[in-house]
Amino acid sequence: MLKQIEGSNAVAQAVALCRPEVISAYPITPQTHIVEDLSALVRQGKLGNCQFLNVESEFAAMSSVIGASAAGARAYTATASQGILFMAEAVYNAAGMNLPIVMTVGNRAIGAPINIWNDHSDSMAMANSGWLQLHAETNQEAVDLHIIAFKLAETISMPVMVCMDGFILTHAYERVDIPTQQQVDSFLPPFAPMQMLDPDDPVTMGAMVGPEAFMEVRYLMHQKHLQALDLLPRLVDEFETLFGRRSGEMVAPYRLEGAKTVVVAMGSVNGTIKDVVDDMRGEGAAIGAVKVGAFRPFPLSGLRYALSAAKRVVVIEKDLAPGLGGVFASNVRMALRGLPTPVYTVIAGLGGRTITKAALKETFARAMADEIEDPAFLGLKREIVEAELARMHEKPRSGPMAENILRQMGLVGYRL
């Protein structure tokens, strides 16, 4: 049913349709509305016997869904930013134990400086935890990805993160088609755990594994990701036949025909990119775009195929590996290894910095002329960083750089 609703609210409804049995919640912006809405649904008895745990930290949130999943329940939680770092140890643990947990990440920057706005530093920090990571472009996709995520997770018994851009999606009102319960039920069967804690068939879960077998355990986790690479597209097709929509594609090309320059990005920024591509195509530029919908497993071959005709690739990413540049971009390069195609990294939208059509257009233009630095920083306030660098050079001052910058800007009022 079509609704004009907030992203968080839509996701909460989608999760509810998946009939979760245990939900753990700890508040952190911008994920909070999702669990708030779920707690209401549980209280209203709309989720049957579902247990809602108000835990004392993200660490406990992940830990409790680990326990719930190990005990055979369909378990869900949501977090963001500092929260995912606080639960990091348990995030790795859940993957190590092959527990099919689904978690929403309302992507947000990581401090210091503390910042509540969107970028991808948080989920990127967990890139190698063993979790599968799906990225939503729209709230419709966010809704659909959660339904797909539970099935994906439970089929190969691995945990899945559904990443959606904080505020940009979580707080955006837009048109979303909320599936019916019957649709979801026909797609997602009840959870049949691969292993579970049961007095009638006891097992020991979470053994200590030494050098004699640890490599094998890790190798098998790698294999699970490779399985997911085959499984996910099938689920996407299955989903399309049942729901009439195509959601969750790992590699989604846009106007690649004859594109010499291809922009690659994850998440909500793809919408803006498509508008820019349309504009530039209108002006005769040979540009196209590829949306990457899964960061883990990373669709190496799918992406390589999509980019095979490109003369150059521009990666827009909301993350920075200081001293290296792009994390996502490095993965894209991995997909193109052996090919001469230049891959330009554009670091954009860190800490919620606005990504405007204009800025993108200007950047793509420079890239097409191969006149772009790598990495490039979209909308970076040059004068400020240069002033700060100069200041640090003449008399290094201790204390957080951010404050020094603010002091310089003498910020008053609000500017776009």
């Binding site: 190590g96 134990m97 092959n98 018994s157 691969m194 292993q195 579970m196 068939d201 006891p202 097992v203 020991t204 879960m205 979470g206 053994a207 594994v209 077998a213 640890f214 094998e216 355990v217 098998l220």
Partner: protein, 542 residues
């Protein structure tokens, strides 16, 4: 369940890991010798029968008891119970009142008429001379072995000193008779009022394979005291015998002075009180500490009004008064005369200066040797110099108590039993003593000794009713359960419980436990926490 590799495991798979290989020393179950058993002259398995009594299985307890001593009811009354002096529990609160439980079991047996069948007939015949505790004990054990037994007794009844030396207020005769009857019922032939003159001839005639001589020591030792009227002096043995025969001398209202410091002296004095003597005074040449009489009896005597003149000797017996000399202890602790005299009132003197044995008839057997005052020499097997003739009880060198005598009877029986089969008896090796230090006494509940009820004094002084009463069933049970079971497992499950490796297997009630050396790491917790010291740690062979 399709489990993930390595991170998820099947349960109890660690049983494949035999941690026993870590062990450097191993626990083993042992039986150590309880101090009570060690101290018992009759060689009773006290811990053994207490263990049954703890469970309330009194008959089983009694049956273990009479394997070593046929007269528990008697011993529960007259034994001076060295077992209790040795009892480890004395170091906790008070010794287990073993004699009281023994007496309870003995009385139960008499009440319920428990019997023991004799052993299968061996065709061997043994002659026993003297039906005192030694002889009776020997007879019992020989019958258990299945040998035929003839007992010849000079007196009119069996019992010896039990009957003629121990007053009935300490040993009621129905008890004595009851236990003797049970021995007789084993198929022992008694001949009474027969004094053996020629043992050799007698054995040859009746075809005995061996003889055990246990005629005791009934001859009162006399001392020369000047007296106007010798009638005023008699000896304790005769006094007690006369009382037993129902013809006591008239003592009503008289002042009796008993000379001596042994148990017999006390018996004489207490008997005199009961015969109506208005006063019973003991004169003893040493101090209370040096007195050989048993402390308890001394206490009872004093309660009954018997007084004692310590460090005195009798010099002269006169009409109504007696001259006594004060003594003093010299540096070696020996009494010596001081030359100071005093007079005390006294109508009659009873001498209780010990007894001698009348063993002259043995002298006719070649090989038999004696030492001073007619005590017969025996070897380790209790055999006299004459092959096949054994001797025991008061007539051989040893402490003269009923229990020692009873022990002699058992020992003699074992040696005789072996002898008639052409073998020699070897006493089994004595296990390590279960010292107090080997116990973990934390585990024993606190429980002071039960006190046996006593007859109130008035009646005590007037009658020959038994002074010390027995325990009732619940008290006997209580008392039995105070036993620490030193050195012997009583199945408290501690070893089974405290093993961090589940390396102790419990076999069920009465069956005890075994160690599973596949998993025992040798930590020693079981041995350390065993209350009774029944587990030892022994080093593994390196």
């Amino acid at each position: 369940m399709k489990k993930p590799f390595a991170i998820t495991l099947d349960v109890s798979t660690s049983l494949a890991n035999h941690t026993g290989s870590w062990r450097t020393s191993r626990p083993v179950y042992v039986h150590r010798l309880p101090p009570c058993n060690d101290a018992c002259p009759a060689g009773e398995n006290i811990q053994g029968w207490l263990n049954k009594a703890e469970e309330g299985d009194y008959e089983a307890a009694w049956r273990i008891l009479v394997r070593d001593n046929p007269m528990p009811a008697v011993h529960g009354r007259v034994c001076y119970h060295p077992c209790e002096s040795a009892c480890n529990r004395a170091r906790l609160d008070a010794a287990v009142s073993i004699h009281a439980v023994e007496r309870f079991l003995g009385d139960e047996a008499l009440k319920r008429g428990w019997m023991v069948p004799p052993g299968a007939d061996t065709g061997k015949k043994v002659l026993i001379i003297g039906a005192g505790p030694s002889g009776l004990s020997a007879a019992w054990h020989l019958r258990l072995m299945g040998h035929a037994v003839d007992v010849i007794e000079a007196g009119a009844k069996a019992g010896g000193m039990l009957r003629y030396g121990i007053p009935r207020y300490r040993l009621p005769r129905e008890v004595l008779d009851g236990e003797i009857a049970r021995i007789a019922a084993m198929g022992v032939n008694f001949t009474f009022n027969h004094k053996v003159e020629d043992l050799g001839a007698l054995m040859a005639e009746k075809g005995h394979d061996a003889a055990f001589v246990a005629i005791g020591a009934h001859l009162a030792r006399r001392t020369n005291i000047p007296a106007r009227d010798a009638g005023r002096i008699l000896d304790a043995v005769s006094l007690l015998h006369a009382v037993e025969d129902g013809a006591p001398p008239p003592l009503m209202g008289r002042k009796v002075v008993v000379y001596g410091g042994g148990n017999t002296a006390l018996d004489a004095a207490r008997t005199a009180r009961r015969l109506g003597a208005q006063d019973a005074v003991i004169v003893y040449r040493r101090t209370r500490e040096q007195m050989p009489a048993h402390e308890e009896e001394m206490r009872e005597a004093e309660e009954e009004g018997v007084r004692v003149n310590w460090l005195r000797t009798i010099k002269e017996v006169d009409e109504g008064e007696i001259l006594i000399e004060k003594m003093r202890l010299n540096d070696d602790g020996w009494p010596e005369p001081t030359g100071e005299y005093e007079k005390i009132a006294g109508d009659m003197v009873v001498l209780a200066l010990g007894q001698q044995t009348e063993s002259d008839f043995l002298a006719r057997l070649d090989g038999v040797e004696f030492d001073r005052n007619g005590v017969v020499k025996v070897d380790a097997s209790m055999m006299t110099g004459h092959p096949g003739v054994f001797a025991g009880g008061d007539m051989v060198p040893s402490e003269r108590t009923v229990t020692v005598a009873t022990g002699h009877g058992k020992a003699a029986a074992r040696n005789i039993g072996a002898y008639v089969q052409g073998r020699t008896w070897r006493h089994p090796e004595r296990p390590e003593l279960a010292r107090f230090e080997l116990l973990n006494t934390w585990y024993y509940d606190d429980a002071p000794a039960t006190v046996q009820p006593e007859l109130d004094l008035a009646r005590r002084q007037a009658t020959f009713e038994e002074v010390v009463k027995g325990l009732d069933e619940s008290n006997a049970l209580f008392e039995a359960r105070r036993c620490l079971s030193c050195g012997n497992c009583f199945e408290c499950d501690n070893c089974y419980g405290v093993c961090p490796d589940n390396a102790v297997k419990k076999l069920g009630p009465g069956k005890g436990y075994v160690f599973d050396y596949d998993f025992c790491k040798g930590c020693g917790l079981c041995a350390e926490e065993c209350p009774c010291g029944a587990i030892a740690m022994v080093p593994e062979e390196g």
